[in-house]
Symmetry: C2
Subunit: 381 residues, 2 copies
């Protein structure tokens, strides 16, 4: 490699990074975190790690060094005020408000179309608002590699190096290294695979070929739209129509008319999997610590909260007394909470609903929420 090559490569890299804009889909309620998370106060609006910031604000701040203020947030209309309180610096034109949920295909597809309309050379990166990542440095490094791989014409997922044989995540099978300049660890994606059984998860872990699918990806907006058009022409046409009106006075009128007509489909099926089959998807393995804070066991693990003996206590002004107890208490009230002789318990105390659970059943909160829904007790959901 001579000096000229290095220079031209640096400039290529610089230009790729300069084309980057981040998108934050702030969607899921976080059902398995009920009764803390619920329709009116979803997971991303909570400080689940004791950092002092909500997950949404932490995500926004984490992307700052990569995207500056070039960050779109896609969320439900109902969360407009809460999101603006979290991110007061956001422009109206960068806040995509869904009048009804249409799954990630429409949310990310519309973001891609808006960004493409503004500048077809844009490289977008999509990062869910409700994940916990550390340290930032390793995350930034992985995203920069992903941007370079995207600039080379790929949809790039950032996979997470598995630390245990999780059955709770989907996996990505990585193939040969792509040899992309600026993205030394970018590999081809052989396939996306669904959440495996425990045995299969162990095989994946042992093989070293698999990473967790964290739902993060970086891609040229033009490539995203190309695959969307090929696989979901109706959805593509809809988001294009809204995007063309976006930065005009017709934005609200067109969105209000077209959004409700969009098909509901996950971005995985609308774009990622067909693109992988076409050989257009790469993966950059991330070595940062990542958690999707999917349930209260995970909240207990991640939280840098004070401990009262063996109990992790989360919540400002919590008044917790323990006697021979262990577990996690999330206090969203000022009530006194006493735990006696009870181990590995999760107690979530909110003004209108209380959850008491054994930690190892954290994944089963969803069933309780379904039962409440079925019984008509939707006031607390």
């Amino acid at each position: 490699m001579n000096t000229d090559d290095v220079t031209s490569q640096d400039s290529l890299q610089g230009s790729a990074l300069g084309r980057f804009i981040a998108v934050i889909p702030a969607g899921g309620v976080g059902t398995r975190l009920w009764p803390l998370s619920r329709a009116a106060a979803p997971k991303f609006l909570h400080d689940l790690t004791g950092s002092g910031s909500t997950l949404l604000r932490s995500t926004y701040d984490r992307l700052g060094p990569l995207a500056g203020k070039h960050i779109l947030v896609v969320t439900g209309m109902a969360h407009r005020d809460a999101v603006c309180r979290q991110i007061p610096e956001i422009d109206d034109a960068d806040l995509v408000l869904e009048s009804e949920p249409k799954d990630s295909g429409a949310a990310i597809g519309l973001a891609a179309a808006i960004l493409h309309e503004r500048d077809p050379d844009t490289i977008m990166g999509s990062f869910a608002a409700d994940q916990v990542i550390s340290p930032d440095g390793l995350f930034h490094e992985a995203v920069r590699e992903a941007i370079h791989a995207a600039a080379a014409g790929k949809i790039v997922t950032i996979g997470i190096k598995p630390t245990h044989p999780s059955t709770g995540f989907g996996y990505i099978r990585a193939g040969k290294n792509l040899g992309v300049a600026g993205a030394p660890s970018a590999q081809a994606v052989v396939e996306f695979v669904e959440k495996p059984s425990e045995d299969v998860a162990q095989e994946y872990l042992d093989s070293g070929d698999y990473v967790w699918n964290a739902g993060m990806f970086v891609a040229p907006v033009s490539l995203m739209l190309k695959h969307l058009e090929a696989n979901q022409p109706e959805l593509f046409a809809g988001v294009q129509e809204i995007a063309k009106a976006w930065d005009t006075p017709q934005r609200d009128e067109v969105k209000a008319r077209v959004w409700p007509t969009l098909p509901k489909i996950a971005i995985d099926y609308a774009v990622a999997e067909p693109a992988a089959a076409a050989g257009d998807v790469a993966v950059v393995p991330g070595t940062f610590r990542w958690d999707d804070v999917g349930d209260f066991a995970s909240v207990g693990r991640l939280h840098s909260a004070k401990e009262v003996k063996d109990v992790t206590v989360i919540g400002e002004g919590a008044r917790v007394f323990t006697e021979d107890a262990s577990g996690v208490v999330v206090s969203d009230t000022k009530r006194v909470i006493a735990l006696i002789g009870i181990k590995d318990v999760v107690v979530v105390d909110t003004p209108d609903a209380l959850l008491v659970m054994h930690k190892e059943h954290s994944q089963r909160v969803k069933q309780a929420v379904d039962a409440l829904k079925a019984s008509g007790d939707t006031d607390v959901l």
Copy 2:
């Protein structure tokens, strides 16, 4: 036994029963039932059995067939309104209000003195306001025997035939049958013994000589006062002074002046044990079901509440959802409560305090209350 004897005995029995007046000390907070029971809403003001009546009202009604409206209630000044709501028919002169707690010696001693002042031939029976008894018939039978034994010159406790080797109750060792007319099962009391270890409790149970001390006793007021005077002359003098003023316009003034000066001592030490040593105490074993509702395990056992799967749910309008759970939920709020994958749990949900506990640690609530007291969180006690 000839006809004359029967007649004279019937008349003797009739006259003994006619001398009976009941006293209900409504005192204890029921610390081990925190946070349901507390200073402002003690145990006896709760319906802990799902009967539709508070324990106090149930106690009053249970005594009706024996005492009519000749029932004194001794309680804290703070509970005046609540007690009057429970027992609207009570006369002011039959409601003894303590300006500060002085233990059972003063409470029962004053009741004895008031009754003695009104009629020195009275036989009193003292029955705590916070016990659960069934069926009423067997209880009435035991009290009638006790009245006859009292008429024969004894302080008569009603002991409970043990059903298991409890370490939570004191025991009474019964001696020879006293052969009292109308009280065929009255026996001499050999001694009162403190709460035993498990081994000792088993020996007591096996021997057949011991009954549980339920704190119920029936006695001529004159005999009560004789032993009180002999053992606690200061306390005796104090209650006498109040009693002499009781049914006069000076009642409140004298009570306000003298009550705070009375020594604090349990009736067991002030009267029962010294009287037993003097051979003046008898026991009538009761075969009715009896529970002092001492803790939440006992509440769960006794309550005729609805069950949601394996969870006993107590509280009007409770909204409880369970998934693979068992135990007791006491709901004093309208909050939704979800229990998931947790066994033998006790959850007590009140507006300002929440208790979550393993059932087998029910006796340890007192420690938590002590800890709250020590930490200054007395607002919820």
